[in-house]
Amino acid sequence: MADKDKNVSRRNFLREGVWGALLGGVGIGGGVVAVKSAKGDTVWQIDPDKCTQCGNCATYCVLEESAVKCVHAHELCGYCDLCTGYLEPEPPGLDTGAENELCPTGAIKRKFVEDPYYEYHIEEPLCIGCGKCVKGCGAFGNGSLYLQVRHDRCLNCNECAIAVACPSEAFKRVPASDPYILKGEH
């Protein structure tokens, strides 16, 4: 009988020990990770220097209408009359008719500033993030049009579906306090 009691108490002692060790382990492990992560949360962003405008941004986002949109850095723009981000490479005409425009949704608005300069402005709600204009602007223009994840839309998925599909590893996690990779700044 005494033997049995001893056995039981030994087993209880073991159990207590394991329990304490596990609780300590969870606490210490969690603490270490917390300290390591104290530098703040991250969000997804596109590195415009790496992006090749493959078109995946428009289709792979978990949102029906992609969180990626085109942005325009006006300070880099040449205000060209013949904007290669705005017009088809060989347009039937040079006017602003839809058949001449590169953007499939007509999201780029053109406004005359002064001879011979035109301002190009993106109607963000219309943009689907297909990157066609970005490609045109990058190929023959200044590259002032480029794609960015818009953080008013992005859900910050744990694993961004576009990042998985991006062929050029342009998607990366950036600090939430500095959530854009703007051209001319980096």
Binding site: L23, D41, T52, L76, G78, F140, R150, S168
Partner: protein, 431 residues
Amino acid sequence: MKISSLGKIFCGVVLLCAVGAVFGAERFPPPEFDSGYQQPTMVNPGARSNVLEYVDVAVLVAVMSLTCFLVYKKRSRKGIFWLMLGSILYFGFWREGCICSIGAIGNVVLSVFDTNYAIPLAGLLFFVLPLVFTLFFGRAFCAAACPLGAIQDIVLLKPVALPVWLAGTLRLFAYAYLAIAVLMAATGSAFVICRYDPFIAIFRLGGNVNMVVVGGCMLLIAVFVGRPYCRFLCPYGVILRQLSRVSRKRVTITPDECIKCRLCEDACPFGAINRPTAEWAEGDYRVNKKRLGVNILLLPVLVVVFGFAGYLLSGGASRAHVTVRLADRIYAEESGEVDDTTDASVAFRGTGMTIAELYGNAAKVQKQFVFGSILAGALVGLAAGVKLIRSSIQWKRSEYEADRAGCFSCGRCFKYCPIENVRLKKLSEQC
């Protein structure tokens, strides 16, 4: 006419491009305006605040606390059931299955291995809090807080009992899944658990077709087999099982002393009720002793065999990493195996990185995979070996008990106990 002049302009543009390549991207200097034109500035909305995530943490703690109250104080299956529904609605449909403790495994592992990655504090709490609760109260998280567990639990209408050996063997998949998920997260390849979450498509009311089908099938199976994902796949469940073995409190089927009436014997649809053991006959004892000896010897063999299997699979597994995939593709293109290109290979050639560098990086990743896969395989082997050893030990039990590791604290078995019914009657008489 217009077209040809456009052609000329394009020739000029191409020439300018060449110049541009020398002077940087600015091919057309930004103009100086005479008309006092004001340049618009770019407006960039800031990242969303994650206040909502802290609300989630609060809800999680509330649900788990309430579960403990319902299981240990009220002993109310009905209460648990409603709580489950609440979790499905809140964590499932409203929060669309994201933030989730199971998926947080990936974030925690990545934050340990990747110095540039920081796990959001709420994510860390989602990972840690259920572990702490489990150490105190058993699997209170699985009972009602986990939307994946809950959705399987409420569709369980026609439970079929699985043979113990089959359930035990199938459970090894969960260990393998955990090992793979950790390997993939540690190498920065993928968040496997999130990508293959079977119910996410249901919670989001749409998504990847394959996952919709997988989710549907899983739910269909769950009608007959209790919580199949929980028991045979869930990697977080593997961790919770082990912690639950030493929990402070445990679920008891009866509110008082077990009278061994056998009424609860088949009550648990998850096979988590252990029967009292009879003394083994002398002959059985000897046979089992021998079996135990063999199984102990088998343990290192299993570890080595599974470790070796991991080694064999590491090559294929490493293709989950984007760098290895790209290197494979470039190699195929260079060696003339394929003669087209992909978006990825074109993009790579545009980066200016040399092929040797790429191969070097890929080799580094592959080395990590070899090491990681062997380790992962060995751990699965260890789990299998320990399972075998446990199966040949005679556990002394004098009562019907909920299995510490396997019980989800669902509360189904309570009402099978006649003593519980006496208690309930007393309660209602008092009222």
